[in-house]
């Protein structure tokens, strides 16, 4: 299965260019189109060979860590991508920690008294947040907080790298992490809440109560784990979406992660960089899903037994 997926991805990324009408060389070279470059491209990709051979040449290069050299920036694609990845990872880790830290206790509060005042309030709030896409959230936050209230270092183009100043780095990532965290939180909160409510009606919860165990312990020890399968599944899928959502956020706030790089590459028609990022992100998403499947199997022994 995993092998199949990887083949689909690589073939997909590779043939992307051939699926589209027009001369691949022209598309790849984009604005860097010159006879010399064209000759180099033909040599590099073997564009005159049959298509399946081109694929194997390309795959061999990839396995050697060679994603090609951009014809526009004249730097190896992998170098460009490598410098962007840590930013995405950092954004993802921070936003996911924030999202889970808020979603789990709040979902528990809601599930304790479904349709109670707190639950109604949280549900209404989550609805509203659910209906605000990340790009609007950024625009509005920049409009109201960063500009009107004059909060420092959240405006555009203020990214500080982790290596140079970690406090500055965290500050520069505060706004994007927050926006991404809110987006994830809403999804996690809603999924966990509805599963917790269902779990709390199970007989084994009554059984746990009949043992005289505190409400708190029942929630954390008995109810959370069986309720978290859908949550983890959603998180696995959501993180893939987060990469994409993160693109816009990065682009809007000038944070040089993969998204930012991708969008600028699209702007320059730097095909090889786009192809490289598509490949890296796709593989990343699959690895994340794989990890989450693994976690789900540990959390719920019922699934692996089926």
């Amino acid at each position: 299965m995993l092998l199949g997926i990887i083949i689909v991805i690589t073939v997909g990324a590779f043939y992307l260019i051939h699926l589209l009408p027009g001369d691949p060389a022209v598309i790849i070279l984009g604005t860097g189109d010159s006879p010399a470059n064209k000759a180099r491209l033909y040599a590099q990709l073997g564009l005159n060979k049959p298509i399946y051979e081109q694929y194997f040449v390309w795959m061999k290069n990839i396995l050697h860590g060679n994603l090609g050299t951009s014809f526009i920036s004249e730097t190896p694609v992998w170098t460009t991508i490598k410098s962007a990845i840590p930013i995405d990872l950092e954004l993802m880790v921070i936003s996911q920690i924030l999202a889970f830290a808020a979603a789990i206790p709040l979902a528990m509060r809601s599930a304790k008294r479904p349709d109670g005042p707190l639950d109604r309030m949280l549900s209404a709030g989550s609805f509203t947040l659910l209906s605000i896409p990340a790009f609007i959230a950024i625009v509005l936050l920049v409009l109201f907080i960063a500009i009107d209230l004059g909060v420092p270092h959240t405006g555009p183009s203020s990214y500080v790298s982790l290596g140079s100043d970690w406090i500055g780095n965290l500050e520069s990532l505060a706004l994007p992490s927050f926006v991404l965290a809110v987006g994830s939180f809403v999804v996690y909160y809603r999924v966990l809440r509805s599963d917790l409510i269902a779990t709390l009606q199970e007989e084994f919860i009554t059984m746990a109560r009949s043992k005289g165990i505190s409400q708190r312990r029942i929630m954390w020890r008995h109810a959370l784990r069986p309720s978290s399968v859908a949550l983890l599944g959603t998180a696995g899928v959501n993180i893939g979406g987060l990469l994409a959502g993160g693109f816009i956020v990065q682009y809007l706030l000038d944070i040089p992660g993969l998204g930012y790089t991708l969008i600028s590459a699209i702007g320059y028609s730097d095909y090889l960089v786009v192809q490289g990022i598509v490949l890296v992100v796709a593989v990343g998403v699959i690895l994340i899903n794989f990890v989450f499947d693994f976690i789900i199997n540990i959390v719920d022994p019922r699934i692996s037994r089926e």
């Binding site: 299965m1 997909g12 896409p133 009606q201 007989e203 693109f247």
Partner: protein, 294 residues
């Protein structure tokens, strides 16, 4: 709280007996949301007939104006009327979402139902293929394809987003059908001598449809958001055609001079999404579809 399932059981025992069917109410808010969506759709359909200003007409004498009687929502940096651009812009969102989901559901749903009902090799092969495509992040694929498939047009966006949604629809519908296909009443229909098509149409479809509808609403909201994101990347319909995403994107550089250009399309988009989400949620609880199933 706990063992309230048990109360439900009692109530069910008690109410199934003599009381005739009690209609579950969807609530006033539900109908307000439906009304709002209907208004948007009608506006999009009849935008040409409505007494609106030309959304492309540039009036340089009033650029970046705030709301006024003449320009309800103000004007943008080229002096175009924001209100009329919002009404015309809704067309893109609605067309893209309905068009692509037509493709997604038209192909994904029948395949999903058939695979779940038939099982066997057909199912395992199709499911493996679909899951492989599912692993490939749809948004990345969409961005990648759209960025090189020039010139961009509404139809291309619809096709790309539509194809990307097929595996998702397939998975949801297949899971839902499988839950129902194992119920005794489906076996009972088989025992009556019903044909497979009759079982699919009479027994499975009416019970899968609520889940399909719930998912459709979520799908519409997702596609509208996606279109907005694409617009930000310059991958949606080409300017000057208005779309909500395009407008918000255009407002970015002149946020301080003209916040209206950001606020009104954002509001229109968010309200539209809010209504969709609310309707979806109400229908889910009405049909007793849990969120985890989607």
């Amino acid at each position: 709280m706990s063992n309230s399932y048990f109360v439900n059981e009692l109530v069910e025992e008690a109410t199934t007996q003599t009381t005739p069917e009690r209609k579950k109410r969807l609530g006033v808010l539900f109908w307000i949301c439906v009304g709002w969506l209907a208004l948007n759709v009608l506006g999009a359909i009849f935008a040409n007939v409505l007494p609106l200003q030309d959304p492309l007409y540039q009036n340089y004498s009033i650029i970046n104006a705030g709301p006024s009687l003449h320009h309800l929502f103000g004007t943008d940096d080229l002096g175009r009327d924001i209100f009329s651009r919002i009404v015309f812009g809704s067309r893109v969102s609605i067309e893209v979402s309905l068009g692509s989901l037509l493709i997604g559901f038209g192909i994904g749903a029948p395949l999903g139902m058939l695979a779940a009902y038939r099982r066997g090799k057909f199912d395992s092969l199709l499911t493996t293929v679909m899951y492989m495509f599912l692993a490939f992040p749809a948004i990345i694929a969409t961005i990648a394809v759209l960025s090189f498939w020039t010139p961009r047009s509404l139809l291309k966006i619809i096709i790309v987003v539509g194809i990307a949604s097929i595996p998702l629809v397939y998975r949801v519908i297949r899971t839902a059908t499988m839950n129902i296909a194992t119920k005794d009443y489906v076996i009972a229909a088989k025992v009556q001598g019903a044909t497979d098509w009759r079982i699919l149409g009479r027994e499975l479809l009416p019970n899968v449809a609520p889940i399909g509808v719930s998912f459709l609403l979520i799908g519409i909201a997702t596609v509208i958001t996606l279109e907005g994101s694409l617009a930000f990347l310059g991958l949606s319909v080409n300017p000057p055609t208005p779309s909500w995403g395009n407008m918000i994107n255009e407002s970015r550089t002149i946020l301080q001079q003209n916040p209206w250009l950001a606020i009104f399309p954002s509001l229109a988009l968010c309200l539209f999404l809010l209504c969709l989400n609310f309707i979806g949620d109400r229908l889910r609880s009405h049909f007793e579809v849990t969120e985890g199933k989607l």
